[in-house]
């Protein structure tokens, strides 16, 4: 058991686990980490179950103090972490003494970092999940991003905690300024012209500043509808590209609504969601259609660290 206290909250710091699954039929959004892979890796490093709650840190990390000694790890983006001024490696088991201050700064790579503490962060589970959903103010710490003065406890350590310095090199590289994401066409690819599908694969889109945990608005050449821009509302999966009447696609991310009324041209494969979650406003995105076989192979390849340990 240990506690941390937030000195500065950073740009957007939220408690996340793997999400609130099983209640979308009642309109309850899933939420969860923007980079689920990095979240799981962080928990694996400190000996937590992969669904334990971590902190998702966005672009500008927080400043926080460990009030008791704790084992922790940082994965995903490199936001320039320092413990009492000493530069820390990412993807590595670290140890903090009581009173040590974790801060971030300097050049960054990637957009979202995950801080796991051995024992997992203890906040009340809502519908079985500790994930923060900002719009509906559900889960996490009072359903909101962390503020200065907030205190979070970690739970009792049940499993074996890996030794300090153990490192798990990530299989998914961090993007540099942009990334090509692999997609599967659908669920409403027929609602678009053939031209739109070609544009999707050939164009480079830019993530707009009006992007958040719900979704990335993409600027680029418009994607043209063939059967109108409205559908009877249906479910909106993670990583789907919905296209409103403007033709400018929106990539739906962790905090997406459960349903939507725009046609969806394609869906990012699960293996590339980690890459998507590490992109920031201003970064470019390209899309490439792949086979289902390629999608599943990529996913199996990514699972190696979890299978071996």
């Amino acid at each position: 058991m240990a506690s941390i206290r937030i000195i500065k909250p950073g740009l957007l710091t939220t408690v996340q686990d793997l999400g609130r699954w099983g209640h979308q039929a009642s309109g309850v959004p899933v939420a969860g980490p923007m980079d689920p892979y990095a979240h799981r890796l962080a928990n694996l490093l400190v000996g937590n179950p992969e669904n334990a709650a971590t902190l998702e840190l966005t672009l500008i990390g927080p400043e926080l103090v460990f009030e008791q000694a704790a084992t922790f790890a940082l994965t995903g983006a490199d936001l320039g972490p320092r413990l009492d001024g000493r530069r820390l490696p990412t993807n590595t088991v670290c140890q903090a003494e009581a009173g040590a201050v974790l801060a971030f700064g300097g050049p960054r790579r990637g957009a979202r970092s995950y801080l796991a503490i051995a024992g997992g962060l203890q906040v009340p589970a809502v519908f079985g999940s500790r994930a923060t959903h900002l719009i509906s103010a559900m889960g996490g710490l009072s359903g909101r991003a962390l503020r200065a003065g907030d205190r979070l406890q970690s739970g009792p350590v049940t499993g074996r905690v890996p030794r300090q310095g153990w490192r798990l090199p990530p299989i998914v590289p961090l993007p540099e300024g942009g990334a090509v994401l692999r997609v599967r066409p659908g669920p409403q690819a027929e609602y678009f012209t053939d031209e739109a599908l070609r544009t999707l694969e050939s164009a480079r889109f830019t993530i707009s500043t009006r992007s958040d945990r719900m979704g990335y608005r993409l600027d680029g050449p418009p994607l043209t509808h063939a059967r109108g821009a409205d559908i009877i509302s249906d479910a909106t999966p993670l990583g789907v590209l919905q296209v409103p009447a403007s033709g400018q696609p929106i990539l739906l991310m962790a905090d997406r609504q459960t349903t939507g009324g725009y046609p969806k041209i394609a869906t990012v494969i699960t293996a590339d969601l980690a890459l998507a979650g590490q992109l920031a406003p201003g970064d470019w995105i390209g899309f490439r259609v792949c086979t289902l076989r390629e999608a599943l192979r990529a996913l199996i390849e990514q699972e190696r660290p979890f299978v071996q340990s």
Partner: protein, 239 residues
Amino acid sequence: MTVMPLVPPGGFRIVEAGDSALVVEFEDRVDPGVNARAIACARAVAAARHPGVRDVVPTYRAVAVYFDPLRTDLASLGALLEREGAQPAPAGTGAQAPIEIPVCYGGTLGPDLAAVARHAGCSEDEVVERHTSQVYRVYMLGFIPGFAYLGLVDERIAMPRHATPRVKVPARSVGIAGRQTGIYPSESPGGWQLIGRTPIAPFDPTRPRPFLMQAGDAVKFVAIAPAEYARLAGETGTR
């Protein structure tokens, strides 16, 4: 130009939505029978507890099945969806006795009632009369926790949503958007025409049954006076 339907009348199809979701689609129209078929299909798929399935989400005319691709036998999940998708519409529409929801119409609680009356070319009382005379079907929940899409609203009062949505709609506001009506469970942005407010929370995580409505339910609105609204709101702890 005639657009060919993607699903024939009475039929269904299964479409991929990425590598971790399949969608069973029924006829592409808002219809109680089609919706009842989607809801029955969703219940059967959820009840099968297929290994790897994370969530089953019925909507107006489709069922999304979310699964973990590494823990799901796609062939057997596909077979389950083929089997349940092919089931005929259940007898009746599955609706029980309607859930009665009290609403205080107009005034500060329903700021768009006058506009809806103007749109319909009738009195405010007549809008209330038409809104309360219908038994609505809960076609689906979505948007935010506990938001139920109810239909169909009487054509005369079916005013389209605001061109520019309000930044803040108070919780428990009752609105109209075309032939849909619904209650905002929590304060949120929204573009629906607000005609009243209910003292009953559609979603309250502290209740044994957090959600007032689920897909397939029948709902009827009952007009109440401001004094009755205040009394009920006091009892339920809402304001």
